[in-house]
């Protein structure tokens, strides 16, 4: 009897790493399905207030590898020329008036609204999170993600992934206290050409911002070769030159 219990325990211990491995592999595939290794894109960010009023921002972004992204605001006029850079968990903001990059933190928001800096400067989920557990529910997988370090904006993330396309459908973001911070909804899968097929819209709402909603619309997502030097402080004032 003892041998059977021991055998069952060993089996249980073996099963957990297998799930973890599958979950992390699946997470990497989700990342690659969302965007190529090195690419450019345009995004329109819309903040919608409870009274229905809107604020819109258009930005051009380039991303390389798992953890480098640079963006520049193209409109409105009050924001034009502002650029942001993220390398891993390091983030900077360049304001033309100020004339030099300043460090910002992931919980701040350069645009206001529900999206914070870590949402707007999204790097690969697999660069920030480990998958603890995978649940299969009908035609979907639910990935339970845990932040690799304390410097990640959300301590835990619950990600619903379409079983066929391996694209995210919904993401819930939690603080270390277990409180739900926000929910992201991935909508309107679109073929951008060059093999890039991904949701063209991300919507978010938050119990912390009742009645508010923010939306990101993606356009012209395409592969682009980018040197590493683009993702440096000295280049922040010149990101728009890449367009």
């Amino acid at each position: 009897m003892k041998k059977i219990i021991l055998l069952l325990l060993i089996c249980q211990l073996l099963v957990v790493p297998v799930f973890a491995l599958d979950g992390n592999e699946m997470l990497r595939k989700v990342d690659r399905n969302l965007n190529p290794e090195s690419f450019e894109m345009y995004r329109k960010l819309i903040n919608i207030e409870p009274n229905g009023s809107k604020k819109e921002f258009v930005m051009y972004s380039v991303k390389k590898g798992r953890d480098k992204i640079a963006s520049v605001f193209l409109s409105p006029a009050s924001e034009k020329g502002r650029s942001t850079l993220r390398v891993g968990e390091n983030m900077w903001l360049y304001i033309p008036n100020v004339g030099k990059p300043i460090r910002i933190t992931s919980l701040q928001s350069v645009t206001g609204g529900v999206f914070n800096n870590s949402d707007i400067m999204r790097i690969d989920y697999s660069a920030e999170y480990n998958c603890d557990k995978v649940e299969d529910v009908e035609k979907e997988h639910i990935l339970y993600l845990k932040a690799k370090t304390k410097s990640v904006a959300y301590d835990r993330v619950k990600m619903w992934v379409d079983g066929k396309s391996l694209l995210p459908l919904k993401i819930e973001c939690f603080a270390s206290s277990g409180m739900l911070i926000k929910t992201l909804y991935f909508k309107q899968v679109k073929d951008f050409g060059g093999g890039v097929v991904r949701p063209a819209v991300i919507e978010t709402d938050s119990p912390l911002y009742k009645g508010y909603k923010s939306i990101i619309i993606f356009a012209k997502v395409k592969t682009k070769d980018l040197p590493d030097e683009v993702f440096t402080l000295n280049y922040m004032s010149k990101v728009e030159n890449l367009r």
Partner: protein, 457 residues
């Protein structure tokens, strides 16, 4: 005394003052209502998620402008020494009004690897003392060549802002001093030739960037720097390693003092950043006056330090706190000697109409003593709260500058409101506190109120 003076000033100018404040505060709700009226009041689900984004088409030229209307009210402190230095006969009206109209225009044109950029600022102002004034300033105009993302070369009038401090940048060797009242304001550059060489690596040091600078001095350009022709050399080396920004900078000249500096910044957590800066100015010459107005020179290596933090709370309150040690600054005794000189000059003028000492003190004041951050140790604290009490687009802030040496201070509550895209309303009141013979206690005004409307297009 301050509040008594404030109430007296207000009584004297009650009509103008009330009218001014009424005008400004009426603008807030009026524009706010326009913003809501102009908003598309429909559920978010019905919003057209169009994918064609018109702004993405790139043009070789770009143009941007901002128009600002600024009203300033200054409550003068007729008992302060700087007031007596400037107005020994006093003034009838203890409140000064000034209206400014600022137009800032910037544009660029790109042709292949070359880009031409220019930013001009036009200011038209009207005040009680000098009536209409007008100036046009070229803040920046330069050509930039960028053959590849890792190499660039710029030539022309350009702002080079170095260092990591928010309120002060002692290691910004090629910049003009920041305006402490508005550290984020654009500045005027110097004529330089500078470049960037960037190398990214897959190693513990992830990035190295070299920024060499040449600044020529002649009677036509950069003449503020020295009296004789010379070439000033400088540079900055940036390292990004261990998730930390590190900068080493230097400046070498003949008549211009050699300077060496270092700065760093790092994110400690998702909401906490630290930064620091240090600089040494070799053989710095400080001009010091005694109580009689005799000027002496003191030569020494001036050492500056700055350490600061930026902290964001869960309630969206941002704290910026900085300590600054100004190695070029005056000690408390040196400042007291200067104030004693003004007092003696004023007494002399009142008793015998002799302006000698007052004129001498005015000269010393405009050269150094009356400038911002004139003493040695300061604290800067700015607390800002994003959209408190669910009031959209409103950011109140409180800024405090504390002179540690003489325990005088400036406290400035501020409200910034952006109800409509591209429109910004700003209201700021600055109150100065300090005893006699202290920096903020002897400033020309007791308080200053600024109200501005800025539009970007």
């Amino acid at each position: 005394m301050f509040f008594t003076h404030l109430s007296q000033s207000c009584k004297c100018n009650l009509k103008k003052y009330t009218f001014f404040l009424l005008c400004f505060f009426l603008i807030f709700p009026a524009i706010s209502m326009c913003g809501y009226a102009g908003a598309e009041d429909k559920p978010s689900d019905a919003i057209d998620l169009e994918f064609e984004i018109p702004e993405v088409e790139k043009k070789p030229y770009e143009f941007r402008a901002e128009l600002k209307v600024l009203e300033t009210v200054k409550g003068l402190d007729e008992d302060s020494l700087i007031f007596r230095q400037k107005y020994p006969d006093g003034l009838d009206d203890k409140t000064l009004y000034q209206t400014d109209l600022d137009l800032k225009v910037e544009g660029s044109y790109q042709a292949k690897i070359a880009k031409l950029y220019a930013r001009l600022k036009e200011n038209l102002s009207y005040n009680d003392e000098e009536a209409w004034e007008n100036y046009l300033r070229t803040e920046e105009v330069y050509v930039s060549l960028q053959p590849s993302p890792s190499i660039s070369l710029d030539a022309g009038k350009k702002v080079l802002k170095w260092g990591k401090g928010y309120a002060w940048n002692p290691a910004a060797f090629f910049s003009r001093p920041k305006d402490l009242d508005d550290p984020d304001a654009t500045m005027e550059g110097y004529y330089v030739v500078s470049g960037d060489l960037i190398k990214s690596m897959d190693s513990p040091v992830k990035t190295i960037a070299l920024t060499p600078v040449i600044l020529p001095i002649s009677k036509n350009i950069n003449h503020e720097w020295a009296t004789k022709k010379e070439i000033v050399w400088g540079g900055k080396i940036y390292f990004f390693t261990l998730d930390t920004d590190l900068d080493l900078m230097f400046l070498l000249g003949k008549e211009v003092n050699d300077c060496f500096g270092f700065s760093f910044s790092k994110n400690i957590s998702v909401n906490f950043e630290i930064h620091g800066e240090t600089a040494i100015v070799l053989d710095y010459v400080k001009h010091i006056t005694d109580k009689q107005g005799n000027l002496t020179e003191k030569k020494y290596d001036a050492k500056d330090f700055l350490f600061g933090i930026r902290y964001l709370t869960a309630r969206d309150t941002t704290y910026i706190l900085e300590y600054y040690r100004n190695g070029q600054g005056y000690t408390e005794d040196e400042m007291k000697d200067y104030f004693s000189l003004i007092q003696a000059g004023y007494d002399d003028y009142i008793s015998s109409q002799n302006m000698g000492d007052l004129i001498a003190s005015r000269g010393y004041g405009s050269q150094s003593y009356n400038k911002q951050t004139v003493m040695r140790d300061y604290l800067y604290l700015k607390v800002s709260q994003k959209e408190p009490f669910e009031i959209l687009y409103l950011t109140p802030a409180l800024t405090c500058i504390y002179n540690i040496n003489d325990k005088s201070a400036s406290i400035a509550p501020q409200m910034t409101y952006t109800p409509i895209t591209n429109l910004e309303l700003d209201f700021k009141a600055t109150f100065l506190f300090g005893k006699d013979y202290t920096e903020y206690g002897e400033k020309i005004n007791d308080y200053k109120i600024l109200a501005s409307v800025k539009y970007y297009f």
